[in-house]
Subunit: 357 residues, 2 copies
Amino acid sequence: MQTHLLELIKSEVRGQQAYAAGPSIAPIRLDANENPFPLPEQLRTEFMAALGRLALNRYPAPGSPALLDGFAKKYGISPDMIMVGNGSDELIQILCTALTASCILTPVPTFVMYRISALNSGHKVLEAPLDEGFDLDLTTMLELLETHQPALVFLSYPNNPTGNCFSQEKMETLLAKAPGLVVVDEAYGNFSGRSFLPLLSRHENLVILKTLSKIGLAALRIGFLIGAASLVHELNKVRLPYNINSLSQTAAGFYLDHEDTFLLQAAEIVKEREQLFQAMEQIPGIRPYPSDANFIFFSCLFNTNQVYAALCTQGIMIKNFPAVGHLKNCMRVTVGSKRENKLFLGVLERVIAKLGA
Amino acid sequence: MQTHLLELIKSEVRGQQAYAAGPSIAPIRLDANENPFPLPEQLRTEFMAALGRLALNRYPAPGSPALLDGFAKKYGISPDMIMVGNGSDELIQILCTALTASCILTPVPTFVMYRISALNSGHKVLEAPLDEGFDLDLTTMLELLETHQPALVFLSYPNNPTGNCFSQEKMETLLAKAPGLVVVDEAYGNFSGRSFLPLLSRHENLVILKTLSKIGLAALRIGFLIGAASLVHELNKVRLPYNINSLSQTAAGFYLDHEDTFLLQAAEIVKEREQLFQAMEQIPGIRPYPSDANFIFFSCLFNTNQVYAALCTQGIMIKNFPAVGHLKNCMRVTVGSKRENKLFLGVLERVIAKLGA
């Protein structure tokens, strides 16, 4: 294609790499923060029966009204305060698209889609490195708020990839001082037991994101945005009218009817997380950081590219990072099933022993 | 929410209404250009079996690689010239998002999502009314190209809602003269038998959209963009990494394996369209326009709001339009099954007879 045509594309788009969501290169996937447990057989049968009743030749219900009602009831809020998205990713994109080009503020390291979507929508991105304990650097963030007046602040709670919940007090200060919206992304909220939902009535600029991806239904791409009804009303103008296909809408309704099963799986993952953490602490050269999520962020005295490659060779995929800032020498492992965690620990020990020799 | 927060939202967003995709208010849906035929029972069983094998706790394959390969083979092009979208809607949005804010040009009336997505992305929208025969007004469009240098031209082929294919010669002139991309949306291409695919090699600014929504799988939200590989490469940076859920990816693969069945249904719809057209011509006060799509656009000597309401009361939903330009006194009916079309004709005749009395 001739250069002049490609130059019609925003420089912010041309200047970036596509999000690196690679294919599976090892059978044991501990890289994507998925729930390791499949749907119990009985639920699976009911689930398939529900899908079997769908008319595939008909458009999905626009705006996912049954899900709005169901989740509104679950959260004790009004349905007009909720929007369903094609994963939280779409909700982040809708937020960035709806706002006049300005700038957004995030701590770093954090979930990369905030930055990607902001750039694609023509925003500038302000980044405030986390402090040594992976908490917010409040002084820097307040200065950036004051100087640049960002329209959006994204806070991942608990934070991906560091795994911790930021100090609630600092977050409340940001909510009070931010000139624009503050998005609290609770993608991993099922593993932290904490939520900013009770603060919705106190901060009208608070927007909360949730998802079914980490609790066991990553295949469906279902996320939720919760915020002031007047904001949701405007955001709905940017949302594609049929953004959630019929199969995923039905499956998410099925989740609501059987949430207990999924919450039991989450509790099991939290238990496994603590055991995995303790075992990782025993491996020389590995330092796991405390986690409120379904993954463990850890630093490593050895070359992480070598560790990553050796694990892959042994059939285990975890998440490796570019050697930048807090991410230098760090990796992230998803809490898997008991069997997967044991396998991971065994292989990691052998790999480390070999590299250290 | 306080005004200053809502004012962070683009005026182009605040100034519009959300796309009016209403709920079903009548049992017979002839308003949304869906295929009236359900999946044959044998296919349905195979389809459910394919879905039953999916791991719902895992993320979908990023970028839908199996679909890229399958559709590339079908169209005889390279997989890197294709992108799969959450319906064509998402592909329109991706195009509008990727381009530096400029302006887009469309004929009117046409599919409304071009305008909505363009405004949401901060583009200006130039509209060129169709001529009396619903063909492109080439003189006006060339003037607008020359004066405003739009980054994008959207052409629906056949055009929704008028149902006709524009003159290919005029479209080729636009392709040759446009300073930016020209998108030919072939959502209804299965009913026209025409395509701009053979012209891809001749016009590097040509982008083609296709969808499975009209051929029988509206529930899935699967659209395709076909264009130069270097363009698709950039657009993939704007596409959400996991934009197509696992269930829809699997179902679309299933479509490829059983396309013959769907094409037979399309042929049946085309036959029904001709019969419906001839029958509508016989109704006094109704003027149907020739259609290359799976719907018929018609004008009506009576108050269309009254006709619409009377049809709804009798259980039939068709599409009514705001009384603007070419749409004044016009309505659109989807070609349904033989039984649905007969019902529609009977009710329409009675309604018209009553209003005319």
